[in-house]
């Protein structure tokens, strides 16, 4: 007999969401200059969570002016003092971790298991890590007394709202820059809660400013003449537009863009571990991960065995309420994203690949997509070339390591890759040949503040995390 899971819901009462939020400029919440607002909804229920302000060009200007004014004093602070502010922020994040995890799952749709066990611990860890750099910049390998750039304009995506905020804000503040950050339109709430954390930490006014809004707000921020540094994580198309906008200016820019990672499984790999890695690689955060292992390259001789095991494992994935602690796969972030995933999956079928999903019941309200596997995929198929940014895995095969390298590198992207083999020399040979910024061997989707992250080619430029992550915010 089999036992069913009893519902194990996390409580919503730990988070108190206000009916409306203003922009956070110069330490104060204020409405948009033209009073416009938009709603943010919970993608698992389509319930309206709150209304937030739609920042205008004037608001961008006010926020940049506040950040510029704050820069003078903030950059002049001894590093040891800036470090203490970052330690305070890190500690408050740990204290409010449960509240923030619930908030993130409500606004984003990701399972509480992931926001609680992956996102929030990493968010705090990033602030701790960069706090430690603030008073050691002379030793970072960028010369003695490296200087901050000024005002950083930062635009972040909806897949890891608070984690991307931490990746951007922690190194910026540690190096003495001030910040104007725009969270994604569909996931603005955790950034607004972060504004309150800055208040609790006693951070000087204007050092961190949060502007909610859509793409037009982000474009105005990137183009603002008094912004010295642009940091963007998001789609490759927007990244290219930003690269054009900053051309011919003095703005320093880092871009973390899309990916189409190959997860390569050799016949000598421990298949059960590989299956776990494949599942984690593509179904973590509903596949809303730029470094997701969306192309499974499996050695032909173990294809059948691996796919059988993978399908068995996928049957056990639980799709549903993000606040249920037993949920593996939550909601798709927005109706728009669901439409894109649906269109690409349909294109996969239309182009002749074979589609398979485990039987699973999807909730009636909200945005949902069942975990999906495509076999018989060729390199020409759209599902093998385009980033889907959803729980859709394309399976291709290879015979030799050289063929695996060729297929893995056959993409304009170069963010990440996975290798599964027990043979160390082969693993190192593969890692050496793959054109990607992060290689996970016999593991996947691991992140750490001490480890640099970033892509080759059209996956963008610059590195976040580690000592390397400091460079983007220093005049080196």
């Amino acid at each position: 007999m089999t036992f069913d899971y009893a519902p194990a819901p996390e409580s919503r009462s730990v988070v108190d969401i206000a009916p409306s939020y203003g922009l956070f400029i110069d330490g104060e919440f204020a409405p948009a200059s033209d009073g416009k607002v938009f709603k943010t909804v919970s993608p698992s229920s389509e319930e309206v969570l709150s209304e937030v302000a739609q920042a205008t060009g004037d608001d961008v200007d006010r926020a940049v002016t506040a950040a510029r004014k704050a820069f003078e004093k903030w950059s002049a602070l001894p590093g040891a003092e800036r470090a203490k502010y970052l330690f305070r922020i890190a500690r408050i994040i740990q204290e409010r971790s449960r509240e923030l995890a619930v908030l993130e799952s409500l606004d984003n749709g990701k399972p509480i298991r992931e926001s609680r066990d992956a996102d929030l611990p990493l968010v705090a860890a990033h602030f701790f890590y960069y706090a430690g750099w603030a008073d050691k910049l002379d030793h970072a390998g960028y010369g003695a007394n490296p200087r901050p750039l000024g005002v950083a304009g930062q635009v972040i995506p909806w897949n890891f709202p608070l984690l991307m905020l931490a990746w951007k804000i922690a190194p910026a503040l540690a190096t003495g820059n001030t910040v104007v950050l725009k969270p994604a339109e569909t996931t603005p709430l955790s950034a607004l809660f972060f504004a309150d954390i800055c208040r609790q930490a006693g951070l000087p006014k204007g050092v961190v400013n949060i502007l909610t809004g859509d793409g037009s707000t982000g474009a105005a921020l990137v183009a603002h003449p008094d912004v010295n540094k642009v940091a963007f994580t998001g789609s490759t198309d927007v990244g290219k537009a930003i690269a054009r906008t900053v051309a011919g200016t003095d703005k320093k820019v880092t871009l973390e863009l899309g990916g189409k990672a190959a997860n390569i499984v050799f016949d000598d790999a421990p298949l059960d571990q590989a299956v776990e890695g494949i599942v984690n690689g593509i179904f973590f955060n509903q596949g809303h991960v730029c470094c997701a292992g969306s192309r499974l390259l499996v050695q032909e001789s173990v294809q059948d065995e691996l796919l059988d095991a993978l399908k068995r494992r996928m049957q056990t994935l639980r799709v549903g309420d993000p606040l249920d602690k037993n949920t593996d796969i939550g909601a798709i972030n927005s109706a728009e994203q669901l439409a894109r995933i649906t269109a690409l999956a349909d294109a996969g079928e239309a182009e002749g690949a074979e589609r398979w999903s485990p039987s699973c019941e999807l909730p009636s309200a909200g945005y949902w997509f069942a975990p999906t596997l495509f076999t018989g995929v060729t390199q020409a198929h759209r599902i093998a070339r385009e980033e889907i940014f959803g729980p859709v895995l394309s399976v291709l095969t290879f015979r030799t390591p050289a063929e695996a390298v060729e297929k893995a590198n056959n993409t304009p992207y170069g963010l990440s890759a996975g290798i599964w083999t027990e043979k160390g020399s082969r693993m190192l040979w593969m890692a050496n040949k793959l054109r990607a910024g992060v290689i996970w061997s016999n593991t996947f989707n691991k992140f750490d503040p001490a480890s640099p992250f970033g892509g080759y080619q059209e996956s963008g430029y610059g590195r976040e995390g580690g000592r390397h992550g400091l460079e983007a915010y220093l005049n080196v």
Binding site: K240, R244, A247, G248, I439, A450, P452, Y461, H468
Partner: protein, 289 residues
Amino acid sequence: MSELTGRLSVFKTYKLYVGGKFPRSESGRVYEVTDSKGTWLANAPLASRKDARDAVVAARKAFGGWSGATAYNRGQILYRIAEMLEGRRDQFTAEVAAAEGLSKAKATAQVDAAIDRWVWYAGWSDKVAQIAGGTNPVAGPYFNVSAPEPTGVVAVLAPQESSFLGLVSVIAPAIVTGNTVVVAAAENAPLPALSLAEVLATSDLPGGVVNILSGRTAELSAPLAAHQDVNALDLAGADGELAKDLETAAADNLKRVLRPAPVNWTADPGTGRLLAFLETKTVWHPMGV
């Protein structure tokens, strides 16, 4: 006929350097190169867009072998190039003096500085990974290591005002780390660059690692900045308006761009150009027994 009693010198036909060979421009065009006073020195090849594309093909072809060579081997080859430059010191001094209107003493100082700089960069080949990479202490049972890797094919617009020291200062850092380059030589002073090609060709440097074109910087740089198989641009030799256009074109496939900036070529170059054309690759592996 008394003026014909002296020995008539042999003119040198300057050619492009592409894929280890010395072709004329496929366009058949040349342009007049003069010294700083306007006296004719030579007809240099006026390279075309097709020459630029051929050079990218050669650079891509050479990339696998050159980036896959050991750092020690790349260093040895760069040292060898410095030795060959030393042997041709007088030739380069004369060419630099003519190109830039310098006294012999000043031209000698430029050439000496260029050779010394080449040696300095040669020594970086097997050290850069140690300053730009290393293991990362992640909070988990993983071995995690970051190492720099070459970006790929770098299109370099050589500085216009420093025909040899500036040229060496942009080529050496790009190739010592394993990139391959297509160089547009200084438009009005290309001869030292075309002579450098002769040194490179006889120094064990694989063909295609360095490709040198002479011609109109704006004409050559447009197809290089737009080329989908170029990974990075060094805009040292571009002025403001051209640099903006090229950076805009480079956004199309997210080429890495090093913007032009005033540089004192005689000063310590630091590691900026060395690190500008490197990616960082981070490898994770579980640890356990």
